[in-house]
Symmetry: C3
Subunit: 369 residues, 3 copies
């Protein structure tokens, strides 16, 4: 039995990429709640409703749209975009209580964010930004993989990039990633964890060698900015070693959305500011990063199965590289325990929306282990 | 967790179509009891024994017949048609207690009925009739599908035909089915629920258009007669609209047999009194109705999975169309709570055997919701 | 719910055939403990380590070897052959507590034996012998099948060969096997159960007819010697009926290793002293015995599923043929309850190592049932 990472309900989560939501009903499960998503014909707005008909609990996602209304595929109960039932079979009167939950949904930076918790606390301004995903000056490849693991395992995975050397050797990892110490910062007020690793003289892994054309060694920076619970940004910059120019910038984005206990959606995107019109580089990065993601998917599915067989009270052993992951676990536990305060405009709020702001209330974590 | 519909043990259930039972051992699970069925060489009688050898619980259905005896496929314990063990390996003496249960079994109307409960209460006269299945003046197509759902979900499904419009649109449903109010009658003494729908001017769905050749609109009657817990009869009659003749009669039969918690056998048959020698119509109705049944199978498998994820105490919302299904649930609960009285010959007994008798003790249910 | 046979931890178990262990990491689960096996580059010795990294519990078997060290495939924690962690990423200091269990492992008679219990009690001299497996005068075919059943079901299966007549009829069983009474002896001190069956005039089953060339009936002896919990030896000898010569000897070996509750490894081998250079006979026996083993595998998988559905407190009915199996269950229960004493050299110890010694402390069991 692996202990499950608690869900923080009063938070925004990515439910889908914007282009996944259209006129076909899309089923997703978010924090254990079944949700059906579609886009209105009238104004192209994203609608997110509870995916269970009030009548007999049939999944609305196995139904069809009549204009902007969802018609249940079993007995025809019909819902408008607010979740209100507007028609039932065999009678004119619709019971007053016939309604399904409509979840706040916001489309931003090519992502669809949904709020499962208390709707009155849903503040769209609190959604963290990933503007590079919509930046016309960058080219992005992306995908999503469901993983059968506790979502905390994916957070662990992404916060500690030393695993690139071993799990992704020959793809994105080189010896220097595991060898180089990290610095870790935590902004508890904003629920942001930052982990940085600066490698002044490192091998250039195939991921960058083939996409940038660099033949020799590189200076490589990895700056993680994790906006708990969902948005993970890895700002990557590489330069030929001992040069100032050119700097190749890559923004690696993950959205980590708990689907249910033991299940997580792994949304990923790779955005670059170089070779933006080169279709061959685009195809390479899409395929290559998909392979990297699948290495994580396979490892985390395997790890979860191993943990499921552990006796209660099994031990982990943490070392310095785990500082970021352990900080993330603390932040997640705090968010789950007491709802994250909506950012106060007079306070550190901008920091949560704009990664360029100077971090406030930041302190370095001690090393673990 | 979906609440499970209780099993009524002291009742007859269809275990198989008569032509499924022969000289190969047939395994079925009825109300959670594993049963093995075969037909004797001597007189062609159906035998139903508990499907577990007394020795080490090996399934007798994975064994073989030696004349009319079952020889366990593991160590050769041999049983006669009464379930008495008559031979064991390595010794002449057979332990006195070596016997498996033999269940009362009756072949009637091309169906094999088995009684799992108290054998002393097994009255063959209490088995409801479906004489059209053996009527030489009708042609019948049939099949059986196991479904991974609570058997109550299949009862719900069949008692409320408004779902034909949505789940079976383009097959057997038209808008009029969902739009037309129903009348519901319950005969609690006989454990029979009747639901009727009369559509004086309706579209003719493909099921009937292609089998009867009717081109225009129709008058359509659906008269359900559910003999709880197992036998469901749908008397269907259609006529070209505004005509008295010809009347095309179709008897749609279902036997709803709980296999185990969350598992049900869905036996179905379609009998017609028209085009009885037309092989093309026969093939069409067999294939087409199989498709219709599979739409239900897929929907009920999906619905059960959805219900399995519901929190305890989830709500349903019932409306007028649910009157028949809710009545059936009440009748099933009563049968499960106290065994159904065997019909008294001086009482309403004939009504339970013969759908043509005038119903006694019948009263209309109020509308739900 | 079938009751699970308790595991006796302070015992030797076969983890693999010797030729399965090499320079690729091999994962096995023994008594519920995940184990990774490999052979050192330095001296070819077998190493058995706990298959979970101390860091985050990642399976070491999904890792790689660096010389004789295991490098975790997730974050590179590196272990030597004693299970001591000798390197971690990102820092020079290795935490003192970083170590995984190393299990005593012994290679003997072409089998790899592993000790999961208290390492101080692991006495290699207590490992029962199967010298025929390494005898240059014999030819052996072998294989391993995992079965999804309680390991006690496989012990039951092998201790009562009357099942050969029914489950393996046409392969190794003939009517005489089921008809002939057995003699059973139990040496509780050595935890050995012996079951013998002597058939003076029996059919020759295809297994022997095709491998020996005997055309007529045979004298057939089956002498089982079960060294609980793991090693099962069946000494088989056949002679043409009414002849003294030639005697065809076959040693059938099973190692019965509980993998986890409800899972067992079924290692099997058939060694013969005749036609030892005949490749056709070798191929025939390998294929034919594999088919026989798969008949058991299928039957035991089926039986376990049947038992899983039994209500608590279900009954078995035992007869004379079960004497060996019931004795084995008692011996296994005793081994699980209090650890098997390491054999005292001045005592019956040689008997446990050498099947040729006269058995001591032996008594016949009464017949059961």
């Amino acid at each position: 039995m692996t202990p499950m990472t608690e869900f923080a309900r009063n938070q925004w989560y990515v439910a889908a990429f914007a282009d996944e939501v259209g006129r076909d009903l899309l089923a997703r499960t978010l924090l254990g709640e079944p949700v059906v998503l579609y886009r209105t014909e009238a104004d192209g707005r994203v609608v997110a409703l509870a995916d269970r008909c009030v009548h007999r609990r049939f999944p609305l996602s196995a139904s069809s749209l009549d204009g902007d209304r969802v018609v249940c595929g079993y007995h025809g109960f019909t819902y408008d975009t607010t979740g209100t039932c507007v028609a039932v079979p065999g009678q004119a009167r619709v019971p007053r209580t016939a309604r399904v939950a409509a979840y706040p949904a916001v489309e931003q930076d090519t992502l669809v964010w949904v709020w499962i918790g208390d709707p009155e606390r849903a503040d769209p301004l609190a959604i963290p930004r990933a503007p590079h995903l919509a930046d016309p000056g960058m080219t992005t490849v992306r995908g999503m993989e469901p993983i059968d693991c506790d979502y905390g395992l994916l957070v662990d995975n992404l916060m500690d990039l030393s695993h690139e050397t071993y799990l992704h050797g020959g793809y994105i990892g080189t010896p220097e990633v595991a060898e180089t110490p990290i610095t870790t910062e935590v902004d508890e007020a904003a629920a942001v964890v930052r982990v940085s690793r600066h490698m002044p003289d490192a091998e250039c892994p195939p991921f960058y060698a083939r996409s940038t054309g660099i033949a020799g060694r590189i200076t490589r920076r990895q700056d993680i900015e994790y906006h708990a619970p969902c948005l993970y940004l890895l700002h990557s910059a590489i330069t030929p070693v001992h040069q100032e120019q050119p700097v190749f910038r890559t923004e690696i984005t993950y959205a980590i959305t708990p689907a249910a206990p033991g299940k997580v959606y792994d949304f990923w995107a790779v955005s670059r500011d170089f070779a933006v019109d080169d279709a061959e580089v685009t195809d390479f990065l899409r395929d290559f990063n998909h392979q990297v993601v699948m290495q994580d998917v396979d490892a985390l599915n395997l790890l979860q199965r191993a943990l499921d067989d552990e006796p209660p009270g099994y031990q982990e052993l943490s070392i310095n590289i785990d500082a970021g992951g352990l900080a993330a676990r603390r932040v997640l536990a705090a968010l789950a325990a007491e709802p994250h305060r909506a950012p106060d405009p007079a306070d550190a709020a901008p920091a949560a929306h704009d990664g360029a702001s100077p971090a406030q209330g930041v302190h370095a974590t001690g090393n673990a282990g």
